[in-house]
Symmetry: C2
Subunit: 434 residues, 2 copies
C-alpha cells in the first residue's frame, strides 16, 4: 500500500531490536523504501529488562511501539508479522500473513536463552529475554515471598525464600544483586511471619569467575561486591538438573522454589533456515561487510550474527555491537543502492558495563577500569542516554531517584495468576514461549 510515486529499492528488516531499529533509522535518510517486520509491536530496551523482572521498572518504561519510534519516516512501514522463512532465490520473506519481496534484506531477530539440550528446564527456570519473561520472573519472586508468609514448615519456607540464579554474566549478576536488595531493603517491613532478610540468593556459575567477558580485576571487584551484599557466589559449579524442588549440582542439591536462568543464549532459529555456517550458539557467520556469504543483498546483525574481527576475535552479543552492526549494514545497503562498494565493518569498542546493585557497578570504558559508585554513575548516565526516543526518561529518572532514597520498588505486581508453579489450584497462564 505504499504510494505509487514511491521509488527506490525495497529494504526488508526482520526484527525491531537494537540492530533492526538503528538500521531503520539510518536507512530513512537514504532513497530506499523500508519495511520492518517484527512479531512484537514493541522495541525492548533489553539492558534494563532485569529491572522489570525485579519490580523496579514497569514494562512500558523500557518498551516503545516500533511504529511509534519510526513514525517520523513516511517511507518506513512497520508490520506486526511472524516471519517463518526466507526464500533467498526468489528474494522473498514468508510471514504468517503472506509474502513480501525485497531488494535488500537485513535479518536481526536476536537470540533466546539456551538450556543446553535441556529444554525441559525452561518452565522450571525461566530466562529473561522478553517482557513476558520479565513479568513471569517478577511474579515468581513476589509469589515466593507471599507463599512463604503462609507456610508453617521451616524447610519449605526456607526453600521458598532461597533463590538460585544460574549464570554469572551481566544478567545473572544484575538479577542476583536486585533480588538481594529486594529481600534486605524493599520488603523489610512488609511481612509478619517471615523475615525477608533470611532469604538467600545463590549465584551459580560454571566458569571460574563472575562476568567472564570483563577484565579479571573487575570480575574480582564484582564478586566482592556481591558477597558484601549477601549473595552467595558459587564458582566452578555446574547445574546437573533442575526440578520443581530445586537444583542439583555435581555433589549436592539446593532446595529452592525459584530458579532463574541466565546461563546462555542461542541465536534465533531463523538463522538455521539459511543453510549457512553457524557456531555452537547458532549464530550465522557473516562476511566482513556483514553480508551472508554468497548473498551480497542479505545482511545479518546483532545477536544472531557471528562477526569475527580480522584479529580473530568474535564480537559478543551485546547492545553496542548490535547497534553498530545495524547502522553499518544500513550504510552498506545505501552504498550498494548507489552502486558504491560495501565497506568492512569495524567495531568501535567503547567498553562494557554491568551493575551489581545500589551504587555498585563495574565498567571498562575504553581502557579505564571503574568500580563502585563512579561505575554505577557511568552505568546510569549511559543507560538514560540510550533511552533517547523512548520519551520516558524523565519518568524513569524520577522513579530511580525515589527508589534510591526509599529502596521502594514501584511495580510489585503479581499478574497472570497467584499460585506457585506446580500448585494444585494453578490458575496462572502458561509461561509464554517464542
Amino acid at each position: 500500500m505504499l504510494d505509487r510515486k514511491d521509488t527506490g529499492p525495497h529494504v526488508v528488516i526482520v526484527g525491531g531490536g537494537f540492530a533492526g531499529l538503528y538500521a531503520a533509522r539510518r536507512l530513512a535518510r537514504g532513497n530506499v523504501r523500508v519495511t520492518v517486520l517484527d512479531r512484537r509491536n514493541h522495541h525492548l530496551f533489553q539492558p534494563l529488562l532485569y529491572q522489570v523482572a525485579t519490580a523496579g521498572l514497569a514494562p512500558g518504561e523500557i518498551a516503545a511501539p516500533i511504529r511509534h519510534v519510526l513514525k517520523a519516516h513516511p517511507r518506513t512501514r512497520v508490520l506486526l508479522a511472524d516471519v517463518s522463512g526466507i526464500d533467498l532465490g526468489r528474494r522473498t520473506v514468508r510471514y504468517d500473513g503472506g509474502e513480501i519481496g525485497y531488494d535488500y534484506l537485513l535479518l536481526a531477530t536476536g537470540a533466546r536463552h539456551s538450556y543446553f539440550a535441556h529444554p525441559e528446564w525452561e518452565p522450571l527456570a525461566p530466562g529473561l529475554k522478553t517482557l513476558e519473561d520479565a513479568t513471569e520472573i517478577r511474579r515468581r519472586i513476589l509469589l515466593a515471598y507471599e507463599t512463604a508468609e503462609r507456610t508453617e514448615d521451616p524447610a519449605e519456607r526456607q526453600a521458598l525464600l532461597d533463590f538460585v540464579v544460574v549464570g554469572a554474566g551481566p544478567t545473572g549478576v544484575e538479577l542476583a544483586g536486585a533480588i538481594e536488595e529486594i529481600a534486605r531493603k524493599t520488603l523489610r517491613r512488609d511481612f509478619r511471619s517471615i523475615d525477608p532478610a533470611t532469604s538467600r540468593v545463590l549465584l551459580v556459575e560454571a566458569g571460574d569467575r563472575v562476568l567472564p567477558a570483563f577484565p579479571p580485576d573487575l570480575s574480582r571487584r564484582a564478586e566482592a561486591a556481591l558477597r558484601r551484599m549477601g549473595v552467595e557466589v558459587m564458582l566452578r559449579t555446574s547445574v546437573e538438573d533442575v526440578t520443581p524442588e530445586g537444583v542439583w549440582l555435581q555433589d549436592r542439591f539446593l532446595p529452592a522454589r525459584t530458579v532463574l536462568w541466565a546461563a546462555g543464549v542461542s541465536a534465533s532459529s531463523l538463522g538455521a533456515r539459511l543453510s549457512a555456517e553457524r557456531d555452537a550458539a547458532g549464530r550465522v557467520r557473516v562476511l566482513q561487510d556483514l553480508t551472508l556469504p554468497g548473498h551480497p543483498e542479505v545482511y545479518l546483525a546483532g545477536d544472531m550474527a557471528l562477526f569475527v574481527e580480522p584479529e580473530g576475535r568474535p564480537l559478543p552479543g551485546i547492545a553496542p555491537v548490535a547497534i553498530q552492526e545495524g547502522e553499518w549494514a544500513a550504510e552498506n545497503i545505501l552504498r550498494s543502492a548507489q552502486g558504491r562498494s560495501r565497506l568492512a565493518f569495524r567495531y568501535r569498542d567503547r567498553g562494557v558495563l554491568a551493575t551489581i546493585g545500589r551504587s555498585q557497578a563495574v565498567a571498562r570504558i575504553g581502557r579505564i577500569h571503574l568500580h563502585g559508585f563512579i561505575a554505577w554513575a557511568a552505568w546510569l548516565f549511559i543507560h538514560i542516554l540510550y533511552l533517547i526516543g523512548f520519551g520516558n526518561r524523565v519518568a524513569i529518572l524520577w522513579r530511580w531517584t525515589l527508589a534510591y532514597f526509599t529502596f521502594e520498588r514501584a511495580d510489585r505486581l503479581i499478574t497472570g495468576g497467584s499460585r506457585m508453579p506446580g500448585g494444585e489450584q494453578s490458575n496462572r497462564n502458561p509461561a509464554p514461549r517464542l
Copy 2:
C-alpha cells in the same frame, strides 16, 4: 505467627478492594488483630482501570501491593489466599492453604462482569475488572490496528477498525471516549496503509440514555459530547448474540472484531455460599448496620453487598459507597468489641463523576450539575486525591500532563501474544479468568 503478646479480637477481612482496605486502615487504630485475605497481591484503583485498557496508564500506576499499603500497621497481617468458603457456625474461613478463625468477619470480594446467562460471550467480549482484563483489552485494541495495517480486504479491514462497546454506564462511556481518542489523535501518523481516523466506535446501550445512574440532563450532555467526538451512540438497542465476527442486534449485524463488555456486573460468588437473601445481581442483602441477618459478627461491604437505604433506595456499586461501607463496618466492629451498640450506616452522597474524553466529563457534586472542562477538572482532582497512598501520583500527573499536550499514550504494549483471537497461529495466553 502473630506475636503471643498480641491480644484483642481477630478480624478477618476477605478482599483488598476499596471496602476491605479502608476497613483495614480504620481497624488498625483499634485494639484488634486484623488479617486481610485476597487472591491478588495488589489493591486496584478500579476507577482508572479503563486508562490501562486504553494504554494511557501502566498497570503498576493504578495498583499497589496490599501488604505495602498496610505495612505501617504491625498488627495487620496480609495473606495471599483464595477463599473457598465460610463456616458461619464454626466462625472459620476456608482458603487454599487451610483455615483461619475469626471473631469478626468482613466480606468484601466485590463483583465481576456479568454476561446475563451468556458466559460463552466472555472470551469474545472481555469485560474490565482486573489488571489482566485491562491488558487483554489493550492487547485487542492495539492488535486490531496492527492486523488492519496488514489486511488488504476492505470489509475485513473495516471490521478490524470498528469497535463495539456494550453498555453505556461510566465504564462503557470512558472506554468509548478513550478508544475514539486513540483513533483520532494518538495513532494518527503511525500507520501507512490504514487511516486510523476511519475507525468507528459504536456504543450500544439497552436503556434509553447513556449513564443511566446520572441525572437526565447530564446523560444528554454526555451523549452530545460522545457524538461530537465521533462515537456512534445506539440507545434502546440490545445485543442478541456475540460471535467472533461481531455483534447481532435485534435487527442487524455489526461486523466488528473487537467487542468490549461493560453491560453489567454480578456479585462475587462468595455471597452465594452464605444462604442469605440476594438480589438479581447476586448481592447479599445486609441490615442497616451492614451485618448479615442473624450474624452480628459478619459484615458485608462494597459491590457484593446490597444496602437499601431507609427510604428504599439501594446503594449503587461505586467506589465511594464501598469506601464508606468499609469504614463504617470497621467502626461497628470496634464498637462491638468494646461492648457498645452498632450504628446504622448512612451513606453521605457526595456525587458521581464520569469522564468522556479529553476535557470532557459530567459530574453531579452534591446538587450541582457540571459538564465539560470544569467537570473534567473536578474528575481529575478527585481521582488524583484518592490515589493517596499509591505513591505514584506525581508520576501519573506527569504522564497526564504530557498526554494532554501530546495526545500520546505511554503504554502501548501488546503482551501475551500477538495474534488476533481466533487466529490460526495463536500463541497468546488464554484470557485470564477468575
